[in-house]
Amino acid sequence: MTALAHRPVPAPYAFAQSPCGGLEMEIMGAALRMRASGALFDLAHRALIVADLHFEKGSAYGMRGQFLPPYDTRDTLDRLEAEVAALSPRVVIFLGDSFHDGRAEDRLSPDDAARLVALAQGRTLIWLVGNHDAEGPQRLPGQVVDTMPLGPLVLRHEPESGEQPGELSGHLHPCARVSSGRGTVRRRCFATDGTRMILPAFGAYAGGLNLKDAAFTGLFCRPPLAGALGRDRVHAVGWRSLTGD
């Protein structure tokens, strides 16, 4: 054998495509399904986990005179409701930055607020706080927390530096960019090294940060796998297929 044998070679990533187009893998023994919508489903707890919804980002720009279409909250809710209808989760967990700013909850249209209330019927909503919404929602149903455990996992908004086995987080809005001779695609993605996972942003107007960006350095114990969001499925993309912006 060559010298290579001395270096610990990590096992290849173990994942499976689920019939719904999702990508299933285990983290610290917890069975998780990455959904093409960008939501994560914890099968044991029937928990639907979404990150960085940035409700009312459009109206935050609108207040400053830049009139982005005021439909981002509605659009995000459409997709969230579809996931709830498809999976019937017992609990919906928001991984922080659910609101674009501290006053965003006040700007929710009555319609959109009512939809969030309806979402809490028959299930629990848990709002982790993020840097954009440090107080969490004040009037909407659900529980506001900083971090929370979920079986062997720990959930928080912003990934902590160093190795964090079992952590699920958001905040960074990971994006995968893949180039081929026929062109380039840039898509939101899950990012995981098999011990922790960073979720893509779920909000309609949330931008993305390339997984090759320095902000991701040091977070993974080996080159991460990207679960890139396709139209109806999540594509497992290896590190070597990714390019920077």
Partner: protein, 823 residues
Amino acid sequence: MAEDAALPADLLPAAFADWFATRGWAPRTHQLEMVARARAGRDALLIAPTGGGKTLAGFLPSLIELAQRPPANTPRGIHTLYISPLKALAVDVERNLATPIREMGLSIVAESRTGDTGAARRQRQRVKPPDILLTTPEQLALFCAWEGARAYFEDLSCIILDEIHTLHSTKRGDLLALDIARLQTFSPDLRRVGLSATVDDPDVIRRWMGFHGGDGAPPPVDLVLGPAGTPAIVDVLLSEGRVPWAGHTAQHAMAEVYEVIRKAKTALVFVNTRFQAEFAFQELWRLNEDALPIALHHGSLAAEQRRKVEAAMARGELRAVVCTSTLDLGIDWGDVDLVIQLASPKGASRMVQRIGRANHRMDEASRALFVPANRFEMLECQAAREAIAENRFDGDPPRVGALDILAQHIMGCACSEPFDALALYDEIRTSGPYRALAWEDFELVVDFVSTGGYALRAYDRFRRIVKGQDGLWRARNAETILRHRLNVGAILSPAVLSVRLAGRGGRAGRKIGEVEEGYLEALEPGDTFIFAGQVWRLMGVTALDVLVSPAPSSDPKMPSWGGSKFALSTFLAKRVRELMFDQSHWAVLPADVREWLELQRDRSLIPAEDEMLVETFPRGKRHFMVCYPFEGRLAHTTLAMLMTRRLERMGAAPLGFVCNDYALAVWSLNPMDGVDLDTLFHQDMLGDDLEDWLAESYMMKRAFKGCAILAGLIERRFPGAEKSGRQITFSADLVYDVLRRHEPDHLLLRCARDDAATGLIDVARVGHMLARIQGKIRHAVLDHLSPFSVPMLLEIGKERVPGAAGEMILAEAAEDLIAEASS
């Protein structure tokens, strides 16, 4: 036009007559005519070829008025405003005006103002306006958004619009037309003067220039025609080698082109794409045994590098410049005596413009040489040559002003002073492009500017413009105004990356040039490519830089630069079809092209001018359908996208398609001989099929982004501002998706659709074509490919074949195909 209608003898004051005399010139009829029109207070459009003293004719009335102006107690405002589409041209005209002003001892101040003008001069110009100000449409839009614009321009008596033929059919032209209407309100006696190269239909420009005469009035702008100029001598290179079946590089003719350059004083070598420019430059230098100074000029080179080439050209140090449309317009270079057009001319008007770059003197003919790169281009070059000889040109359809530009203008008006909606509406309709603007659309745009114009009234509290108690609309606050000023203009520049030498440790070194975002997308690190005349290896791409290292001896993998942005003009396409059908006309063509046409006639058929030929034939395990609409690559691509959808439904199982300016080929698993062509090409193709495809297409997203920026929904990004925190900004694509899902009828989606339909996919042209060929489709069912189809099949899969290996594969494939078609 009565050229010799008696002009009053005293048109020119003595000082001016003397000045002409000392120069040894006689004032030309059209110059005097312009003076007479001005004296009568008439607006005028002067159409004259290059070198006819056109600029002086435009300025002469103003110089006379200024020279005769009595002294005033108080400083006066600007007398004459000159608008040029190019910064460099404004500066050049400033220099040229200085001569008569100095030599006649006139006390007239003429100054330019462009984006490059220093802050001190700009400030001074604002406080103490020059008599003549030379500037660009973008600067004028900024002026009009100033507080105090009305007072600044109240003395304005003349506006001169130079090279107007390049502006009137664009969004820049829309913005300019609106600003002219504004100026006319500030100074009701303002006289408009247009200067244009020869165009197909001067009335289109006359109507664009103004409408303030009211409904039903004859065109309010007088037409003055300059002398016809000496006809250009245009030759088509009938290569000694055979004309290739396909390809766009004209490689076969490079040795002959080099010989022609060697015999000329200075040559401009025009090509259609940056790739062709790099390729031709490379080839010419390979042949350049005499080490002639031959330079390269295209839009991806660094600005300072382009300036260097232009300066060397102006000093007469160069023998040839290989260039793209970047040199279509610009300052005069007296020494250019030959214009070479490599590959397809695309349109007659553009060619006349390019040919006009040679020999800026009226009495000598300009010389031009067309070098076709393939057989269809040989037909196109002949057709263009004949059109130019007959003085026939492509027509621009009259322009309907874009609503995103209108939004920008309305915001600008509010930044300048409070406005009354009805008065502004009336003013806007005096501008050509907006003369038919409906009040409902105007209201929509005002609401868009104010609140974003959404059905969900989310922003009524944050209005950008607010209607006051007095019924007037005002900008919300100083911040809103400042933000608008940073976003003025109708030019959209794609994000650019710098190409830099890779330094040690992956750091960026010296800058070599700039490329547009997405330009090197198909390349991987380690790949080689030609740029700025040299071969480079791509080392990596960072946020703002493309890092490269020299790879002098490598065989470059040339990135496809994409096709030309110019489509084959409808007019020229028609002439090509005529030439093709008229067998008595074939004598002008070289023997091999003639044989090719004869072969096509015998083995398939040659359609009449108003017919469209469709061929179907099997080849290998595939079935092919090739049709020949001659409507340009853009329209063909759109048509092919829609056709393949239909063929899919008809069960043909289409696999792919390829398009060029003349034809398109679709291949499929199942035979298409039995396809009902009338159904396939029915006009309802532009209904649901188009909508479905368009909604998802990247072209709509691109168009939307452009409209959103021009209308002020998305702000322009400035270099350096986007380095960090990409996840906290938003992308235009996300906004597009959300808006399309929730308010598909929104004004900006309408704008984007119109833009995509005209510019990016040429729907209008597809529509005209479908109407044209109703009942006129000629179907040739063949057992094998036809001579005409060979160039199309050679295009298949061409884009991604690297280097010499690819050339070999192609060459072999080409020989096989040609043998097959001729057998």
